[in-house]
């Protein structure tokens, strides 16, 4: 969102110079402080070492993924200059690799088809619920909210198996069928619903922190003007929380894209995402490094693009409001 800039107030030249001088002094003291911090040489070296340790493994993966298979298996990637050689065969090879039902290229499309709805649906439902928790009064609101928060920490493992049988068999209580099974194995439906449900608690919690921080006067004023909750939500709350929604959406996207456990349980055969197929390749052909490195790089490519394109949003956006003491 664009920052609101104040209108330039007309001032005389002397005042302007004075103000400018003040600014300059402030700037100078900031640089002075920065200098003082940087004199600690040990800290600088330590941070350089950490940065190096955290980057080199990924860098090595990338270099390896574009080297011919024979070279990967006989020489280290750091000897690329002594043993030069580039190829994109690994990539075309890995896109065709897979199991009897699908290859990595199709799994890539599956990942997209799973991730987009599984990002959008929970975010919408959660923003509705977060508004309800933040700006509507009802009995037991606090307890209910804490209950939703606590669900966030229920291990997914607790829910997986019963949810799977719920999908396939429906729900029967005392011989009465409340709803029938979805009958939808082999489609994305199960994965969408599962990701939606598992994402909800955390997304509600994070979004609630933002929506509750909005000034109460704003909501009151709208209500006095005769706006209903639907309008307030749509016209005021939604636009104002867009930065937060964007940052949380990016995270939900990364979580769903990177998930393996839900995929293993709910996405069978033809609809499996890339993580599942990659895990299979790792298990079955653990020594085919040219496949593993290029496959891994394809799987991290989309998250990395999303990450580099949008990181300025979520670095500051994700936890604002949730860490208030």
């Amino acid at each position: 969102m664009s920052a609101v800039s104040p209108i330039d107030v007309p001032i005389d030249v002397a005042t302007k110079r004075q103000l400018g001088a003040g600014e300059r002094t402030a700037e100078r003291s900031v640089t002075k402080r920065t200098k003082k911090r940087l004199t600690s040489r040990g800290a600088t070296i330590a941070s350089l070492i950490i940065a190096l340790l955290w980057t080199v493994p990924t860098f090595g993966l990338f270099i390896s993924s574009i080297r011919p298979a024979a070279l990967i298996n006989t020489t280290g990637w750091w000897t690329i200059f002594q043993n030069p050689g580039f190829t994109f065969d690994n990539y075309s090879q890995v896109l065709k690799a897979g199991n009897s039902q699908l290859n990595l290229g199709q799994a890539f499309i599956n990942s997209i088809a799973i991730t987009l709805p599984a990002t959008l649906i929970p975010l919408t439902l959660a923003s509705l619920a977060a508004y309800g928790f933040a700006w509507m009064n009802f009995k037991g609101k606090n307890w209910m909210f804490i209950g939703v928060f606590a669900l966030q920490i229920v291990p997914l493992q607790m829910a997986l198996v019963p949810l799977l049988s719920l999908f396939s068999r429906g729900l029967n209580i005392g011989g009465v069928q409340l709803f029938a099974g979805l009958n939808a194995s082999g489609s994305y439906t199960q994965v969408w619903i599962a990701h939606t449900i598992f994402g909800l608690p955390l997304v509600i919690f994070l979004l609630h922190n933002f929506i509750a921080e909005l000034p109460a006067e704003l909501i009151e004023a709208a209500r006095v003007d005769g706006a209903g909750h639907g309008q307030i939500f749509f016209r005021i709350v939604l636009p104002l929380t867009m930065p937060a929604i964007a940052s949380i959406a990016i995270f939900q996207f990364l979580w769903v894209w990177n998930d393996l456990l839900v995929a293993l349980v709910f996405a069978d055969g033809e609809v499996a995402p890339m993580t599942k197929l990659l895990a299979e390749i790792t298990g079955g052909r653990g020594q085919d490094w040219q496949l593993l490195t290029s496959g891994a790089f394809i799987s991290i490519l989309v998250p990395l693009i999303v990450f580099f394109a949008l990181q300025r949003f979520f670095v500051r956006g994700l936890l604002a409001g949730s860490t208030k003491g």
């Binding site: 920065t34 800290a43 509507m136 493992q157 990659l278 670095v315």
Partner: protein
């Protein structure tokens, strides 16, 4: 609804996205429309409300393929609900709006998390076919088998080491690069692993750890370093007990960036005046850090430690892809999946319950924190 999903699953993958999203948007739009209509007075709107109270549950049950009289029950409930609403102190239609906003999420949570959790808790005390209660037998099995104990112990090792190291390294890094030149760039370098899937990260680190027999060229970076210093190449993920630590390194590598970003934002929120006042009192940098900065970022530290603790309790992907639990590296989440795949539902559920018990203290602590915050508001 079942038919809709069946139909949609016959389409090509990418065509399914707009259709599902479109259908979903329509549903939300309808909810918002009725929420907006709800508080309006007048006979017409009253009739609409009444109709929705009866028709909405009916529609839902019909779509879910249920018996008709279940829908009738829902209609009666709808009527009661309507009457209650009519007398509500908050104005007509308030309850109606409330349900519109909260029900979709809450119903999904009830179906998808609360109900399954209860079922799993019950299944933990049943035999593997789920038709007979066998008391604590499953738990006895876990805690009398050397492998079972090992699995629980490994999980505890994960949850002790990962949060401590990632938070410490993240905090140190955040402090070191604070206000330095190129801070943003340095942040991205360490934060990047957050974007990489656990499976991808596992492959990256498998490649770092991989070993070739002595005498050959090493292709794994770590073994190359070992050989460089005159050591023998070792297969890091194969040799117990240290292999668990080498797996833990991967999660630390992933989570440090998260800790660093959150703590860095918190450090910037510590008032400069306090730091300057401490400086005037003649304290050194370390004292200022312990006495001013750390108390200032306490709540962020708690959030970071909690989040990473939960992530490491539930760790699954890394163990699954790097060792599949072999060579005594298994953790609860992985063992639970393995047991389930082997049709040992009772044991699988028992593992899940053990995991839940381990997470419980963290839930209670954080719920209390939230309650305190909400009371302040």
């Amino acid at each position: 609804m079942s038919d809709f999903f069946n139909w949609i699953s016959t389409l090509p993958a990418l065509a399914q996205i707009p259709l599902v999203v479109g259908a979903f948007v329509v549903v939300v739009a309808v909810i918002l429309f009725f929420v907006e209509i709800a508080p309006r007075s007048g006979r017409r709107y009253t009739i609409i409300r009444l109709a929705v109270c009866v028709l909405a549950p009916l529609a839902i049950f019909v779509f879910l393929g249920s018996v008709a009289w279940a829908a009738a029950v829902a209609a009666v409930l709808g009527g009661v609900f309507f009457l209650l609403d009519y007398r509500s102190k908050q104005g007509a239609g308030y309850l109606f709006q409330l349900v519109g906003f909260l029900a979709p999420a809450l119903i999904l949570l009830l179906i998808g998390l609360v109900y399954p959790t209860i079922l799993t808790a019950i299944a933990a005390f049943q035999n593997n076919r789920g038709n007979r209660f066998i008391g604590f037998e499953n738990f006895v099995w876990i805690f009398t088998q050397p492998t079972g104990i090992r699995v629980v112990l490994n999980t505890i090792i994960w949850v002790l080491i990962v949060p401590a190291f990632s938070t410490a390294i993240g905090l140190a890094y955040a402090v070191f690069i604070d206000k330095s030149r190129g801070e943003k760039f340095f942040k991205i370098l360490v934060f990047m692993p957050m974007a990489i899937s656990f499976v991808g990260a596992s492959i990256i680190w498998k490649f770092v750890y991989t070993a070739r027999p002595a005498g050959q060229n090493q292709i794994g970076l770590l073994n190359q370093i070992v050989v460089l210093f005159g050591g023998q190449p070792t297969d890091f993920v194969a040799n117990s007990p240290w292999n668990t630590l080498f797996l833990i390194v991967v999660l630390v590598w992933i989570q440090t960036g998260f800790a660093m970003v959150v703590l860095s934002a918190a450090i910037k929120g510590v008032p400069t005046e306090q730091l300057e006042a401490a400086e005037l009192d003649g304290t050194n940098a370390w004292e200022r850090f312990i006495n001013v900065t750390v108390p200032g970022i306490r709540s962020s530290l708690i959030v970071v430690l909690t989040t990473i603790s939960i992530a490491s309790l539930k760790v699954f992907d890394i163990v699954r892809t790097m060792t599949a639990g072999a060579n005594s590296t298994s953790v609860i989440a992985n063992e639970m999946y393995t047991q389930w795949k082997g049709f040992e539902n009772g044991r699988s559920a028992a593992f899940a319950l053990v995991l839940f018990v381990l997470v419980l203290p963290i839930v209670v602590y954080n719920a209390r924190q939230i309650q305190k915050q909400r009371e302040i508001r």
